[in-house]
């Protein structure tokens, strides 16, 4: 009997045009997009004060990116505060959208944005808090572990689905919940693309028409790093492990480049690596 899982596994094996080693100029393009996205998250993050709403934060992030020449987005900016950082009680697609929830002094904050810069999509996730947060440091330690081991796992023979399971197992062993399992298709990550139509503004709710089209025309399932993925690993991925602790969540999201037998983060100049002095 063919189950849905089996069906997804078969579909993930479809050869995707994304499954190729990016050239150095393509890597430079993706790096520029990622750096601008992180710059945005850091600069707007620096202005955050208690009382800011998720909506205002996301709006100002989008404004910042547009002021830096971004005309289109892979997805618009998200901001999540407090227990919304672990997607507490998120039942519908629209619940993920930035809300009127106001930032409290002790909240954990996640900023996530995905601008398209000169046709290259970046997609980042940045977690921090205004005040020291007792649980966040431990969660970030685990995320730092993932940042170290994920390139090793992607360099091995493990399938994407097996890597998904390894991440899931480690998250649960450490007493956290797997919050990226709550994303659409429960993805640990997804491919990123050059999006040639990016000069058009697109309709972005929150993912742009460009991004939906880019994913769909490549078969969708090879592009999404789900637990069922048994297809190719080669190419560019936005990897986003997301843990849930007591009343908060934490993630990072950045680009991993996978070549035959080798995988590496596209850029070491990312805030969570800089903060740990691992750049």
């Amino acid at each position: 009997m063919i189950t849905l899982d089996t069906f997804y596994r078969k579909l993930s094996q479809v050869k995707s045009p994304s499954a190729q080693v990016p050239t150095s100029s393509e890597q430079a393009g993706f790096r520029r997009a990622q750096r601008l996205a992180y710059q945005c998250a850091e600069e707007i993050g620096r202005e955050l004060r208690p009382g800011w709403s998720e909506k205002r934060t996301a709006r100002l992030m989008d404004e910042y990116l547009r002021d830096h020449g971004v005309k289109s987005f892979f997805h618009r900016s998200f901001a999540w505060f407090g227990d919304r950082t672990r997607f507490q009680n998120f039942k519908h697609y629209w619940t993920f959208m930035p809300s009127s929830r106001e930032l409290q002094e002790t909240d954990v904050i996640i900023l996530d944005t995905a601008p398209i810069v000169d046709q290259y999509a970046g997609d980042i996730g940045y977690t921090f808090s205004l005040q020291p947060h007792s649980g966040l440091k431990d969660a970030q330690d685990l995320l730092a572990e993932f940042r170290q081991v994920l390139p090793e796992w992607f360099s091995s023979d493990a399938t994407p689905g097996e890597i998904w399971k390894k991440v899931d197992d480690r998250i649960r062993e450490r007493g956290y919940d797997n919050c990226h399992a709550l994303y659409p298709f429960a993805v640990l990550g997804h491919r990123l693309h050059r999006i040639p139509w990016a000069r058009l503004p697109g309709v972005t709710v929150p993912f742009s028409l460009h991004s939906y089209w880019a994913l769909l025309k490549r078969g969708l399932f090879p592009e999404l790093l789900s637990r069922e993925h048994t297809g190719e690993k080669i190419g560019i991925w936005a990897i986003e492990p997301h843990l849930g602790g007591a009343g908060f969540g934490a993630k990072f999201e950045e680009i991993l480049v996978v070549e035959p037998g080798r995988a590496y983060w596209l850029d070491e100049e990312v805030p969570h690596a800089r903060a740990r002095g691992t750049t």
């Binding site: 004060r49 009382g51 100002l60 002021d67 009127s100």
Partner: protein, 271 residues
């Protein structure tokens, strides 16, 4: 002193006076002035001189397109969100560690930006002063309740029309105001076009309430704006003091000797 920095790719200027030493920035609140139309930061000359001499750090922003602040080819940079980012990043230039507390002072359309900045500053806001400057929410409510205000504000509709409004600003407005306009005054029309784009959000969302003290100074001989009532601020701020003076729309620049003592008393009480 006129300072200039590139902020999100555009040259942005502001007047800065008074102490700027990092330690001194925390001893007294920074007074942050936001001008209106058709003005520049120079409109606050009567305030910047006096309050900087009194030992306050003083900033007076030049809005996009005037006073040396580079105009933008896109209307996006005139949206209130972009103006807010300009002000936050200007503050960041002066106080990189965000240690200072701020008194925000706005006049005319500068009041819209002053409310936005006040809301964004959160607990850094020491106080808010509006001088003949309504909040956007206030204006929208008046558009429904006050036909007189609609008439007085009808120039805003004219300002939405490119070409005609620039001609009006160039040829008609100086005659009406009996003074020359600053260079780039036509650029300021785009602030009105940007502000109009913020109307749907202002209508649909609840404004963030200001908890810091608010002082409203109003020249009652203002031909463009009706004198406000306390009720208008009901959902905008916790504590509002309204002082009505027998002066005109530009009383801060024409009669600083009447306005400054009120500002000084308000700021003194903030301690």
């Amino acid at each position: 002193m006129l300072r200039e920095e590139t902020i999100r790719g555009l040259r942005t200027t502001w007047i800065q006076a008074g102490p700027t030493d990092a330690k001194l920035l925390t001893e007294r609140p920074v007074l942050f002035f936001l001008h209106g139309f058709p003005d520049t930061a120079e409109t606050w000359a009567g305030q910047t001189a006096e309050f900087s001499a009194a030992g306050f750090p003083v900033l007076a922003s030049n809005l996009r397109g005037v006073g040396g602040s580079e105009p933008s080819p896109t209307l996006d940079r005139y949206h209130p969100d972009a103006v807010l980012l300009d002000q936050l990043q200007t503050l960041r230039q002066v106080d990189p560690d965000a240690r200072s507390r701020i008194v925000v002072i706005g006049h005319d359309i500068g009041g819209i930006y002053a409310w936005d900045l006040a809301r964004a500053l959160g607990d850094r806001l020491a106080g808010l002063i509006l001088i003949n400057a309504p909040a956007l929410e206030q204006l929208l409510r008046r558009a429904v309740r006050s036909p007189t205000q609609v008439l007085k504000s009808s120039y805003i509709a004219l300002f939405q029309i490119p070409g005609i409004s620039e001609l009006a600003v160039k040829h008609l407005v100086p005659r009406l105001l009996k003074r020359p306009l600053p260079e780039g005054a036509e650029e300021e029309l785009r602030l009105y076009r940007g502000a109009v784009r913020a109307i749907p959000r202002a209508l649909l969302s609840k404004p963030t309430r200001i908890h810091a003290p608010v002082l409203v100074l109003w020249g009652k001989r203002d031909p463009y704006l009706e004198v406000p009532t306390e009720a208008e601020y009901g959902n905008l701020a916790d504590q509002v003091e309204i002082r009505v003076l027998d002066e005109g729309h530009w009383m801060h620049s024409r009669k600083p000797e009447r306005v400054n003592p009120l500002i000084a008393r308000f700021v003194e009480r903030l301690k």
